[in-house]
């Protein structure tokens, strides 16, 4: 136990949380627009391999992340066309998207197993990064960690303060009423789904380019599902999703350290602990059913068909 350094733990917590944070904040926007996309896992892993492949081929992690966002968004286009234009069921389509993404990524990834990606640089704030404790914990990560945080703040501000955010929430609340007022339900949902896909893609690429960093088949290992759970148990609130993601990241890092420290607890129990603890905490936080229900988008998962 003595071998665990708080400083290192906190520093790696932010890194560990970033993939699911990116995926979850994208899915939050999608669900706020009234769309339930269960394909997060599939979009993440597609982003993971697209980002990995582009980074390896071009040697640029930045282009890699751009490719990952594009790859995730491209996969989400399939979902958007099926659910928004062809009115297919959200749940079934999302599940299919996950299965497709897992298989498709394995296919593309055949040539990349065992390849080492170019490393993603960490920001260097000079003096600031050298501040004891705070420097390594907060100020010496790569840009994606901060992008994740910025995205949470941006989504929160857009949903709360802007007209676009208001319209998005309105569409998720009652697409019929929004349509009657003349808002473009399908168009806005389409854009929300693309955003969700791009975010999930970034989250996936963060796994394959930074966190691991290498490509293995099925490497997301359920991170997409945790992202989905975070959105629901975080009651569709961006800051709670951030909290959930950091909790998950923190427990994942801690249990790895505990394993390394040789704690006398079965490894299986330790491995499942991040999932268990995150969900448990969020369930307790959203235990007041009535208040949680108030925040749930009322039209979530319902197919919209304009009748006029």
């Amino acid at each position: 136990m003595a071998g665990i350094s708080i400083e290192l733990l906190l520093a790696s917590l932010m890194v560990a949380a970033t993939p699911i944070l990116l995926a979850a904040i994208g899915e939050l926007v999608v669900e706020k627009a009234g769309v339930l996309n269960l394909g997060v896992e599939g979009m993440m892993i597609t982003g993971a391999i697209c980002g990995f492949a582009v980074a390896v081929e071009t040697g640029s992690p930045t282009l890699g992340f751009a490719g990952a966002a594009l790859g995730g968004a491209a996969l989400s286009v399939i979902f958007a066309v099926l659910t928004q234009l062809l009115l297919s069921n959200h749940v079934a389509t999302g599940l299919a998207l996950t299965l497709f993404g897992l298989g498709f990524s394995a296919l593309i990834g055949q040539g990349y197993v065992g390849v080492k990606p170019p490393s993603t640089p960490q920001i260097n704030l000079g003096v600031l990064s050298d501040i004891p404790f705070l420097g390594p914990v907060l100020l010496s990560h790569d840009l994606m960690v901060y992008l994740g945080l910025a995205l949470v703040a941006a989504v929160w501000a857009v949903l709360k303060f802007t007209r676009t955010g208001l319209i998005l929430r309105a569409i998720g609340e009652s697409h019929d009423a929004a349509h009657a007022l003349g808002y473009k339900v399908v168009r806005l949902r389409f854009l929300a789904i693309l955003f969700g896909g791009a975010s999930a893609g970034l989250g996936g690429a963060y796994l394959s380019l930074v966190r691991v960093p290498q490509w293995t088949e099925g490497m997301t290992a359920g991170a997409g599902w945790i992202a989905l759970a975070l959105v629901v148990f975080g009651a569709w609130k961006p800051w709670r999703v951030l909290l959930g993601a950091y909790l998950f990241g923190g427990v994942s890092v801690l249990q790895l350290n505990l394993q390394a420290a040789g704690l006398k607890v079965p490894v299986e129990l330790l491995s499942m602990s991040p999932y268990l603890i995150t969900i448990l905490v969020l369930v307790i936080m959203s235990a007041d059913k009535r208040r949680a229900a108030l925040n749930a988008p009322a039209a979530l998962g319902r197919v919209f068909h304009a009748t006029t």
Binding site: R163, I167, S174, A180, G182
Partner: protein, 513 residues
């Protein structure tokens, strides 16, 4: 302010036509509205009123014909263009977002809404100016029907509309709220805003409107000045036939079939009403009318009668047996049937066909299942009998419930219960949103049922309806039921007192200053 040839019309419609597969919703419709005129649009359910106003509001594109606003060509391709040209609309089914607050809802219906703080200020000032009290920061989900409508009206008023379209605005309002609304509308009219007013309540139209256009099967079949004609004449113009007034023979009353003794029940939901010491007796062949401002316990009373909520033992009796241990299914088997107010979602499952919906309540009494298997041919026969007997206008029994217009679905829902030969039937708002002819036929069916020896409770906001068909009248006020009194000879003043007098507006809605 009658339309005169000297004043150029505000809105002129000419030869508007819109066809849907299988039906011509509007066939060469033309009329005009003068500035400041309150113009009624009349017609039965399905006569094409909704399609017409949707074309004016830019939600539906006409196949042919033209519109002029202020003498200029007007062809809105979407509602935001209509709003910019000064056309606003209050919807029949509220187009509000329950999880959002009043100010957010209003902002959504505006082009270029001001910042939130200014908007809240303007909402307060407009609501004070037109006598429509409203707090901008309340969640719409917590508001009463009347308050929700105020949200819609204020949303329109903030844009200074020159034409305000109102689709059935009073169907969910209490008499007091209707009076408030009419005062507002008259003020607007005096300021020069024209109002296109759709309603089934012909007496309201007579007191409010300057002119009226009547549609039947998508065509203009006449126009009139409502003040100079009678409600009956307008109704007959709408239907194109002579109207039957519901009538019944004064029969003998039988034994007490349905009885409540000291029925009390705490409120289940946060905004619900507790029932307090409710007592009544309904005899075979009797119709008990229950009036009262919405939200005073009507829904709670209905659900305790259906068995959705459980009454304490010894408080509710049907045919002398205590109903407390019996759930909805058992009560239906015994002959205690109900038709709730909310058609889609409570009385009928929206996405299921009429046959399936007929099955849902018809199983116990019509023998539609055998050893767990559904007898579909028999169920289909039952559904088709309802459709035929109650003149439900639908392409067939295979159609989903949500595809029917409100009035037609209401006929189906009531017909489904009536045809099960109930021992006692409780209906809530039986003719809400139903046109005059269909309402008359539903009322007639209820009267016939009573004549056949059933005990009926009719819960309604429509006092005239209650006085027309009920033998006895009682009022619900904050969960208390007044002692029933014979309906014949009861004056509106006496009813007002029974309903709790003038103060009940405040108490019923917990109005926030």
């Amino acid at each position: 302010m009658t339309a005169s040839p000297l004043i150029p019309p505000l809105l002129r419609l000419d030869g508007l036509t819109k066809a849907y597969p299988g039906v011509i919703a509007n066939n060469s419709v033309g009329f005009s509205i003068a500035p400041g005129e309150i113009h009624a649009l009349l017609g039965e359910n399905g006569a094409g009123k909704s399609t017409l106003v949707k074309m004016i509001y830019g939600l539906v594109k006409p196949d042919s014909g033209r519109m002029e606003l202020h003498g200029e060509a007007y062809a809105p391709s979407e509602p935001s263009i209509a709003r910019r040209r000064g056309v606003a609309m209050v919807f029949q089914h509220f187009s509000l977002f329950e999880a959002l607050d009043v100010a957010e809802n209003i902002a959504l219906g505006m082009e270029d809404p001001p910042p939130r703080r200014d908007l809240a200020e303007r909402i307060r000032s407009v609501s004070a100016e037109y006598g429509l009290p409203l707090d901008p920061s309340r969640r719409v989900g917590d508001l009463s029907a009347g308050e929700r409508q105020r949200v819609e009206i204020i949303r329109c008023l903030l844009q200074n509309p020159r034409l305000l379209i109102m689709d059935e605005p009073t169907s969910v309002l209490t008499p007091q709220e209707v009076d408030m609304l009419f005062t507002t509308l008259r003020t607007l009219s005096a300021e020069g805003t024209a109002i296109l007013y759709i309603s089934h309540k012909l007496d309201e139209i007579r007191s409010l409107c300057d002119g009226a256009t009547v549609l039947r099967h998508g065509k203009v079949v006449g126009s009139c000045v409502p003040r100079e004609t009678t409600a009956r004449a307008m109704a007959e113009l709408m239907v194109g036939a002579t109207l039957q007034t519901p009538a019944r023979a004064a029969g003998d009353r039988g034994d007490v079939l349905l009885e409540a003794r000291g029925l009390s029940l705490p409120a289940e939901r946060e905004f619900g009403t507790a029932l307090r010491d409710v007592n009544f007796q309904v005899r075979a062949g009797e119709i008990l009318g229950i009036g009262g401002v919405a939200g005073n316990g009507q829904d709670e009373l209905l659900s305790v009668l259906t068995g959705e909520t459980v009454a304490p033992p010894g408080t509710l009796f049907f045919q002398g047996a205590d109903m407390a241990p019996h759930g909805p299914r058992k009560r239906r088997e015994l002959g205690l049937l109900t038709a709730p107010e909310e058609r889609l979602g409570h009385a009928a499952a929206p996405d299921m066909t009429l046959v399936e919906n007929a099955l849902l309540t018809g199983i116990p009494r019509r023998g539609l299942t055998q050893s767990g298997f559904v007898n579909w041919p028999r169920t289909k026969d039952f559904a088709e009998r309802i459709i035929a007997d109650f003149d439900v206008r639908t392409p067939g029994s295979h159609v989903a419930a949500r595809a029917l217009s409100g009035g037609n679905l209401q006929k189906f829902v009531i017909g489904r219960e009536v045809l099960q030969a109930p021992g006692a039937l409780i209906v809530n708002q039986p003719t809400w949103g139903v046109d005059a002819a269909a309402a008359a036929s539903i009322r007639q069916a209820l009267l016939d049922l009573a004549e056949g020896g059933a005990a009926l409770i009719v819960i309604s906001q429509d006092l005239e309806e209650i006085l027309e068909i009920a033998d006895n009248f009682a009022a619900l006020n904050e969960g208390r039921l007044s002692a029933p009194r014979p309906a014949a000879g009861l004056s509106l003043d006496e009813i007002g007192l029974m309903m709790g007098g003038a103060h009940d507006m405040e108490t019923a809605h917990h109005a926030v200053p």
